[in-house]
Subunit: 426 residues, 2 copies
């Protein structure tokens, strides 16, 4: 069912999966009302003019087969009784841009606010969103995106091969620097802090930067490019800005933030201050997405962080240690790389349980090397050492891009060959 | 099963519901590892000393009856196969304070990060957390709490009766001010903006404040107390601080923030700047809590926002239009009022579908009037007008505190009587 009214006002749109105890048409109207000019009663203040300016409208309803059990419990439905049918649909709602303006927290309150709690709702997921280019352009967006990241890292025409400093937390600054030295010596492109370490009392942020940066500079002199290190600056606003400045002044090229917990206002503020790419870590994301009838799809989520100005965003990995299916991971990566209202693309970051073997599937599915491929054990655990670990990842990608099988490519590439025989058995 | 090791280090603890394809004992160890000093391999860097300082430990495992179907899908489990049994338990994990320090985003990454996505996990919910007083005291916490809010509003010994400006969005500043005038004239204690309106292009924030504040001052002169108006300042960091200052300079007494979307860094930053109580709006909360095997319990959630420095927090209402069961709403309100590591209490805010009738159940269950009771239609839709609407709410609470039934109290209180006959039929 399509309901295209001619409306001259500028609008952004949201597409939801909705399951409810009332028919989808009614539910869509309730959501449009609640999330715009809704009220408890028909009030004298709610004039036709106000509605025309402010009321969200239902653009489309695509019915889906109903469910006989609710996906999510609702005491409201239990109290009122249901007809034993839970209506399902994908609905699309258009909101006036003028209701929100350039305001990420209010955009979120509008797209993803109280609607999750409505009594009739037994399932609700924000699937996607879209907006006019001249509205999207009011938000900061990625300052570096893929091109800017490649330029700073000096890596072109192939994926950025990276790793994570482990153990996640507990290393001294000196131990971290020694590990960075080994990794850079092995030809790594990108290293990141774990999300659990930022500025712990036992080893303050400044000391970590002071220990790591000279190592990066040393290898930059040798390589003609500086391996990119994403320092985790997640923290208070003042800490994030100060730590960004510490990294910048030391000649570093990337900062990392736990986006869900710094929050939209925090990340946007950092972005407006930052002179470095922002590596977006999405830890906690599982809580927002793991139930198919609740929360957010990654397609919508990445657009919101793209507006806020993140440059890289994690997408898990193929055949990873995480819950997510490979096709979902690939869909996420494609979303990061896809056009969205003129906002620059995100560099997708693949990680968890990765080694050289995932490269061919990734390349065949994405037809792109604009990504970061992070391996932990797949690099550090290579039987011939870290250098061979990094080499095996690059060789895996060389084979993938050349359209050759890993097995045949491995015949002339010993690092890949050893990776296949070692990790292939695990 | 209890595993009390003597550990001298300071720790904070988290209690989770966990469902997994592997036994709870193993899952608990995996989570403790992943969320502290875990690594892909046993590395030379991970010394015994590092583990002792940094490794989280499993404090307790309380087994629950297993499930035969997973609560949440996991491609990892499907790939590896399961034994058709999904182990369930409540587990408690202790994390070293030194891993995090005073850092809300990293505290969240530790308590609620990647663990939601672990492949073996088919259910995970943060149920509760606790921490030492001298760790909690490093976070800002509520500056006003209940006492400070009451002092600014001049309301003591009874709940604060409040309402929300509706339509949610679309009113001009003058229309809003006219509504505020009516509400203050009717004796209201508290008014809030809807979460959908903050600083829309068609009616900027400053104009709304400029129109509303003189009305509040006029009634303050008359009443000897100024009704509290929570202006929604949700927005960028700069906007939030500037709009806070606008409200403060105009003599206002409260600001409101959509906490999930401003985020922990944003709310904490506002708190450190603010000279006014922060009214915490939790819109979007449903996405984090509506599935019982995923996300966050309110008990844990309110503690996190309490650390960040929110003063009031929404808890829905009894017999509301939302999905939540009454016992859950009451549990949330009790959580706001309960001691937590020396951090001041939150004022719980009840709303949605409220009128005088909920007061006796609320009081009987909570034995407290330290709360806000917000009614929309229950005040504005009273058949004898807004004045009678506010009066009926107060009379409902007077009856509740006096231990009298609403029906008997209504015999001598016409506003309550009319509310019962009007809303009682709806």
């Amino acid at each position: 069912m399509s309901m295209n009214t001619t409306v001259s006002r500028a609008e952004f749109t949201a597409r939801y999966f909705v399951e409810s105890s009332v028919p989808a048409e009614k539910m869509a109207q309730v959501i449009a009302g609640e999330q715009s000019s809704g009220t408890f009663l028909s009030l004298p203040g709610e004039t036709a003019q106000l509605k025309e300016r402010s009321r969200a409208r239902v653009v489309n309803i695509h019915s889906l087969p109903p469910a006989l059990e609710p996906s999510l419990q609702s005491a409201y439905v239990e109290r009122r009784g249901s007809h034993g049918v839970f209506h399902r649909a994908e609905i699309e709602i258009a909101f006036p841009v003028e209701n929100v303006g350039c305001n990420l927290p209010v955009l979120l309150a509008t797209l993803a606010g109280n609607l999750f709690e409505l009594g009739e709702v037994t399932g609700l997921r924000l699937l996607d969103l879209d907006m006019p280019v001249n509205y999207a352009s009011q938000f900061p967006g990625p300052a570096f995106s893929i091109e800017g990241t490649r330029r700073l890292a000096g890596v072109h025409g192939r994926p950025m091969i990276g790793t994570i400093i482990k153990p996640s937390i507990g290393l001294t600054a000196e131990q971290t620097a020694a590990m960075v030295d080994d990794l850079c010596g092995a030809g790594i492109d990108f290293i990141k802090d774990d999300e659990l370490i930022a500025n712990p009392p036992y080893e303050p942020f400044e000391r970590r930067v002071a220990a790591v940066m000279p190592v990066l500079h040393k290898h930059a002199d040798r390589l003609g490019r500086m391996p990119m290190y994403a320092f985790n600056i997640s923290g208070s606003i003042d800490d994030m800005l100060r730590h960004h400045d510490t990294v910048l002044q030391a000649g570093g090229t990337c900062v990392m933030v736990s986006v869900n917990w710094a929050g939209f206002a925090g990340v946007e503020h950092l972005r407006r201050h930052s002179q470095l790419p922002i590596h977006g870590h999405r830890n906690g994301w599982g809580s927002l997405t793991r139930h198919a009838a609740l929360g957010f799809s990654f397609e919508a989520y990445q657009k919101l962080w793209r507006l806020a100005g993140v440059d890289h965003l994690h997408v898990n990995g193929l055949r990873s240690k995480f819950w997510e299916a490979d096709e979902s991971v690939l869909r996420s990566a494609r979303a990061c790389l896809s056009p969205f209202a003129g906002v620059p693309a995100l560099m997708p970051v693949f990680s968890s349980g990765q080694w050289a073997a995932q490269a061919p599937d990734m390349y065949r599915q994405l037809q792109s090397t604009d990504l970061m491929h992070l391996a932990g054990g797949g690099i550090i655990g290579h039987p011939d050492g870290i250098h061979a670990g990094v080499a095996s990842m690059r060789e895996g990608w060389d084979a993938a891009v050349a359209g050759k099988s890993l097995d045949s490519y491995a015949l002339t590439h010993p690092a890949l060959s050893r990776a296949l025989s070692h990790f292939g058995r695990m």
